[in-house]
Amino acid sequence: MNRKRNLMGALAVMSVMGAGTAFAQQPTLELMHFWTSGGESNAMQVIKDAVQAAGIAWQDAAVAGGAGMNAYQVLQARIAAGNPPAGMQMHSAQIRQFAQEGLLIDLDAVASAQGWDKEGVLDPQLKAYAYTDGHWVGAPFNTHRHNWLWINKALLDKYGGTPPATWEDFFAMADKMKADGVIPIAHGGQAWQELFLWEAVANGVGGPAFHKAAIEELDPEALSGDTMKQVFDTYRKVLSYVDPGYPNRDWNLSIAMVMDGQAAMALAGDWALGEFNVAGKQANVDYVCANGPGTDGQFVWLADYWGFFKGLDEQGVKAQQKLAEITMDPAIQEEFNIRKGSIPARLDVKPDKFGFCGQKGIADRAAAVAAGTMVPSLSQNSAQTTDVRGVFEDAVNEFANTPDMTADEAIAKINQGLAEL
């Protein structure tokens, strides 16, 4: 009896080992990303399923937390050790940076086969990152929009019914709310959220031309000009409408406050849509998605891409290219982005299946691409590299938390920080 059991055990071990070798013959891609929340991993599942259906094993190397910073820490260490993963989810600035370091494989063959280059497939601004130094290096998943204002529908109806078109309108509405004891704006005092809010103000006050000059080109005149001062002063005023519990509040809690009617409005990118969807809230019934104050016609964007690292064998590279192809497939982009709350990176995906806010986002983007008013986001690493972004983040945060700091002092901080880079 005993011996028989041993034999069975040995057979079981052997069959497992056999399965292991069969498994190893399948190409495996180790993929690093930081999409670990419910909605995010639900979206990632679309790509995962398609990859596995194509006969490629997906080895998940997700690293949660820190808005991707923890994942980058792991990535940096692994690159330094000469052992990067097969692919990594990246923002615009990083895809360009890693491509320029010569670490990424080029995707030219897939791109030409799938026609990434054709007119009307990708927005030229986004393409400028995916196509760096004459080669395709990034396969974009999605585009997120930055300049949304989320409003509780019942409260909006009570206070005028139309979303504020400018920051002046916003203040007028917020004063009435404050007088009635309603929190006008739900905000979280975390460093990245302060920069996000500041940039939303900058876009509303200065518009795309100012954003381009001051933030993308770091033009000294624009950086120290009157518009910049006005941006800081307006930002100071916006901060006077937050509730005392705002320090270190996570962004999803701000969205929950708008859902519950505790607060009237919140500025957040379309990642907020995922929260509304999970809670079963309806656009134009429970909440309203409007353009951020003063940003009609603008589309402030950020995108995520796959970047694929060099170092795999021929079969591995083929698998990497296959994943790029899957990612850029219109049907995959449609399903992935409906789940994620973003919109497809491809301009040519039909909007029909998206919800109200998704359709509005797609339409607004088409208009902005035509009008040349696409604006890359600073706070989400599309406009600048992380070191430049950090200078803005530090100055904005110091300003936000030092009540007697003037706009001039904040501007001086930015200039000093940029000079030191």
């Binding site: 950090g390 530090d394 945060n397």
Partner: protein, 313 residues
């Protein structure tokens, strides 16, 4: 340290009447046990410290580079207002945390030492916070101190409308909330060390003090406290080290905010190394932390070693 102690213990208690060969063999074995630890410490502690020191003199961005730029990174470090804020915060935090938890720990230990009932229960209660991760402590205190959710709201709901405790949201007070949470977690440890030391105090000495007419306060102050000197040293060294490398508590509780009101050098280093592609600057900040720890610890350790060698003589 540990390995060396083991060696000396073996020397003292090892076989004394074996042959010379046997003694020599035993010595070899001892060395063989020590070598791996020494190698690991040399490579992974001193090696990496030197590596950071080298990087702090280069213009490394995302990846290490060997383009040496002298003290430039240190210059930008000390002209960075965020660094100044974090160093100042660390000073306040270290003094507050170490001082308060030593005091609270000592008090608890003395109270527990009065032969009370259910001592085991109290000891466990006081020591329990130590078993919790700093992330949990930080998150729990973040909610408890949030003016809209925690203590302040509770008091308002109970009718104390004028109750006001918004320190965590106040840039001038936030650092003290970090101290509160850390003391809550850390004083149990100090208590355990002091309690062990108190139990080691010879009852005869205490009795002698009583016979000489010393009251309880005088007994503790003049007789027991001096005997607790090694315990104080242990608590101090461990607590200071703990304070300087505080990171997770701050990340979970305040995220360094509001603004940089609770930013600490560890967070500064992490942010600049991994979030900002400024490895050189981050290395410079790491070396500054290291040098500070050395400056604080060397006098302590030196005086302790001197005492030890004096005691041996």
């Amino acid at each position: 340290m540990t390995a060396a102690e083991i060696t000396s213990a073996n020397d003292a208690g090892g076989p004394r009447h074996g042959g010379r060969l046997r003694r020599r063999l035993a010595q070899r074995v001892n060395i063989a046990f020590v070598v791996p630890t020494v190698v690991i410490v040399v490579v992974f502690v001193y090696g990496f410290v030197s590596w950071s020191a080298v990087l702090s003199f280069t213009d490394s961005k995302t990846f290490p580079s060997f383009n040496f730029v002298g003290f430039q990174q240190y210059q930008s470090l000390w002209s960075n207002s965020r660094w100044h804020a974090s160093v100042e915060n660390l000073a306040i935090f270290t003094i507050g945390f170490v001082g308060l938890s030593t005091l609270v720990g000592l008090l608890l230990a003395i109270l527990l030492d009065q032969r009370i009932k259910a001592e085991g229960l109290f000891r466990t209660i006081y020591l329990y916070p130590l078993a919790i991760s700093f992330i949990v402590t930080g998150t729990a205190w973040k909610w408890a101190l949030n003016p809209g959710l925690g203590l302040e709201k509770l008091m308002h709901d109970w009718g104390f409308e004028s109750f006001n405790f918004d320190w965590i949201a106040n840039p001038n007070r936030a650092i003290y909330t970090l101290i509160i949470a850390a003391v809550w977690q850390g004083s149990g440890f100090a208590m355990a060390v002091f309690l062990a030391a108190l139990r080691g105090v010879d009852a005869e000495i205490v009795k002698a003090a009583k016979i000489d007419g010393a009251g309880p306060f005088r007994t503790y102050w003049s007789v027991v406290m001096p005997l607790l000197r090694p315990a104080f040293l242990t608590v101090l060294i461990i607590m200071v080290a703990l304070a300087i490398r505080t990171f997770d508590l701050m990340v979970a509780m305040t995220g360094g905010g509001p603004g940089f009101a609770t930013d600490l050098p560890t967070n500064f280093m992490y942010q600049f190394a991994f979030g900002r592609q400024r490895l050189g600057l981050a290395a410079a900040s790491a070396i500054m932390i290291f040098v500070t720890v050395l400056a604080l610890m060397i006098p302590f350790i030196a005086s302790e070693l001197r005492r030890e060698s004096r005691d041996q003589r």
